[in-house]
């Protein structure tokens, strides 16, 4: 009756879907942050979730990674029900929160070792996997430095390394490049692309940046006020928006607002916090 890690999504759900949600809803008091989402994300894609501040992206992700119970609706991640089998889900996902999540008081190496042990990577493989993850993210040289001395881009890459040690089937990245300079941003994009090629994991990215979605994502959903305003490839969205020139234009078409507008104090404070260095 135990399902081994690598047969999970085929044997249990019988479908090749990294994520399936039905009517997934989350309310905070009277306010509906995520409103009845039906979404299927196939295995092995880089999926972009675009939306302005407060659209519900983070709330959606936090339900899928089992940190926030839905108010109603269902979801399966890597073939397992997020409510009934949260531990099975957790075993198979990697999660990089919107906020900084590397421990500034530990070195890069120690940060990785911590995750390898928590996830139960076999002792005999730990060192090797940590070493591989460090070199894949270009952090081998700086592995011995305290993470609080890393730059923003290095921290993001460290967090990616932490999230892939246990070879997840689905990787969630909540605004992975917010607050990074263009060079660091490109470096993160490179890492994400090579990750998809080498691991075959589905990668779910939320972002504010159209350019990021265009660069990385084979499929995109535009989120607006807790719902999905449009979904498809970048090209198909432009077409659907009446032949928009850019994804920006398509975005305005679907949400009636540009990405620049909005942004209340809480959101801005959060972005700033993410952008600044650790500790």
């Amino acid at each position: 009756m135990t399902t081994s890690a690598d047969t999970g999504i085929f044997s249990v759900s019988g479908e090749r879907a990294a994520i399936e949600t039905r009517g997934l809803t989350r309310r905070f008091g009277d306010f509906t942050a995520v409103d009845g989402l039906d979404l299927t994300i196939p295995d092995g894609v880089i999926f972009g979730l675009l939306g302005p501040n407060g659209a519900g992206k983070t709330t959606f992700i936090r339900m899928l990674v089992t940190l926030l119970p839905p108010t109603s609706g269902e979801a399966r991640v890597a073939g397992f029900d997020i409510r009934r089998e949260p531990r099975e889900v957790r075993r198979r996902i990697g999660y990089i929160p919107q906020l900084l999540s590397a421990d500034g008081g530990l070195t890069g190496y120690e940060n990785l070792m911590t995750m390898a042990r928590l996830y139960g990577v076999p002792r005999s493989e730990r060192r090797e996997r940590v070493r591989d993850a460090l070199s894949a993210m270009g952090l081998s040289e700086t592995a011995g430095l305290l993470a609080r001395n890393y730059s923003g881009g290095m921290i993001r890459r460290l967090e990616i390394a932490q999230a892939i040690l246990h070879r997840p089937r689905v990787l969630f990245m909540d605004e992975p490049t917010v607050g990074l300079d263009p060079v660091a941003r490109r470096a993160v994009w490179e890492s994400v692309r090579s990750l998809r090629e080498s691991s075959g994991a589905a990668i779910i990215i939320t972002t504010h940046y159209m350019e990021e979605a265009e660069e990385l994502c084979s499929r995109v959903a535009i989120m607006h006020r807790g719902g999905i305003a449009a979904i498809g490839t970048v090209e198909s969205l432009k077409e659907e928006a009446g032949g928009a020139e850019s994804l920006d234009e398509a975005f305005v078409h679907f949400t009636g607002s540009s990405m620049e507008s909005g942004g209340r104090y809480r959101d801005i404070a959060q972005v700033r916090k993410t952008a600044s260095r650790l500790g």
Partner: protein, 281 residues
């Protein structure tokens, strides 16, 4: 494939399955607890300065308050000198003060994304909580060295047999684990640093004064004695006195002291594990 197993074979393999499941769960639990403990001790090692700042309070209590009160002979401590009487009390108190603010680290980790990341991992919640508690215990051990050395320098006569030292260390770990988990529970409930510091301040003094740390139960008015006997710190002090002071006997019995503290700790770990994931919602 053989699909017709006899009932007995089936039961046997079920039992084996259960045993191996329990083994796996325990192995995971201990590994995860040890991981959190390791993380915290690495950080303690990197911060030797805090050893000094933490030593200030017990030095004042013992060196100033203790020596002055010992000269007045105002507090009846029976056949035991007041200084001897104070050493275990100050030790327990300094561990309490140290542990009661431990939850601030949880709020810190919550405000960053560290806690979210731990909670999205398959680690058992009680393992995350217990690991932190044991780390608080390790921090408490440095206080033991400071307080005991100071006590000896001031002329207190303490029992220094290996078994008593081990006993003291064990109870210190347990006490620190208990109060730090209490602190963690409060941190889960109040959620912000400012409120947490406020509540920490409010809690420490009552816990301290409603205990036998600096005066014996026998001199307390009835209502205070009743309060004190529900206070885990009282049992902690009682055990430490019995172990450290020559010829002293435990008022409650070491077994009762242990049972009381272990039970409160277990309940707090339960509550903490339940509140942990709620703290980030």
């Amino acid at each position: 494939m053989t699909s017709h197993k006899s009932a007995r074979q089936q039961a046997g393999s079920d039992r084996q399955g259960l045993a191996s499941l329990i083994f796996r769960v325990l192995a995971d639990f201990f590994r995860q607890t040890a991981t959190i403990l390791w993380v915290e001790t690495v950080k303690i090692r990197r911060d030797p300065f805090s050893l000094f700042t933490r030593a200030v309070q017990p030095v004042l209590w013992l060196g100033v308050f203790g020596t002055v009160m010992a000269r007045t002979r105002a507090i009846p401590t029976g056949s035991v000198g007041y200084l001897e009487f104070m050493v275990p009390g100050v030790l327990a108190q300094s561990v309490l003060f140290l542990s009661i603010f431990y939850g601030i680290s949880l709020i810190w980790e919550k405000d960053l994304g560290i806690l979210s990341k731990y909670l999205a991992s398959p680690a058992y919640r009680p393992a995350l909580v217990t690991g932190k508690a044991l780390a608080a215990g390790v921090r408490a051990l440095s206080q033991a060295v400071v307080v005991c050395v100071l006590g000896l320098l001031l002329g207190a006569r303490l029992v220094l047999t290996p078994s008593s030292i081990l006993g003291v260390l064990f109870f210190l770990m347990l006490g620190a684990a208990l109060f730090s988990t209490f602190s963690l529970v409060i941190a889960c409930l109040v959620k912000t640093r400012e409120r947490f510091m406020g509540i920490g301040q409010v809690l420490t003094m009552p816990l301290f004064f409603a205990s036998n740390a600096i005066y014996p139960l026998s001199v307390m008015p009835g209502w205070l004695r009743t309060l004190s006997s529900g206070n885990p710190l009282t049992y902690q002090v009682d055990a430490l006195r019995a172990l450290m002071i020559p010829g002293a006997r435990s008022a409650m019995g070491l077994g009762v002291d242990f049972a009381m503290e272990a039970a409160v700790f277990a309940v707090l770990v339960g509550i903490g594990s339940w509140l942990y994931p709620k703290s980030i919602r």
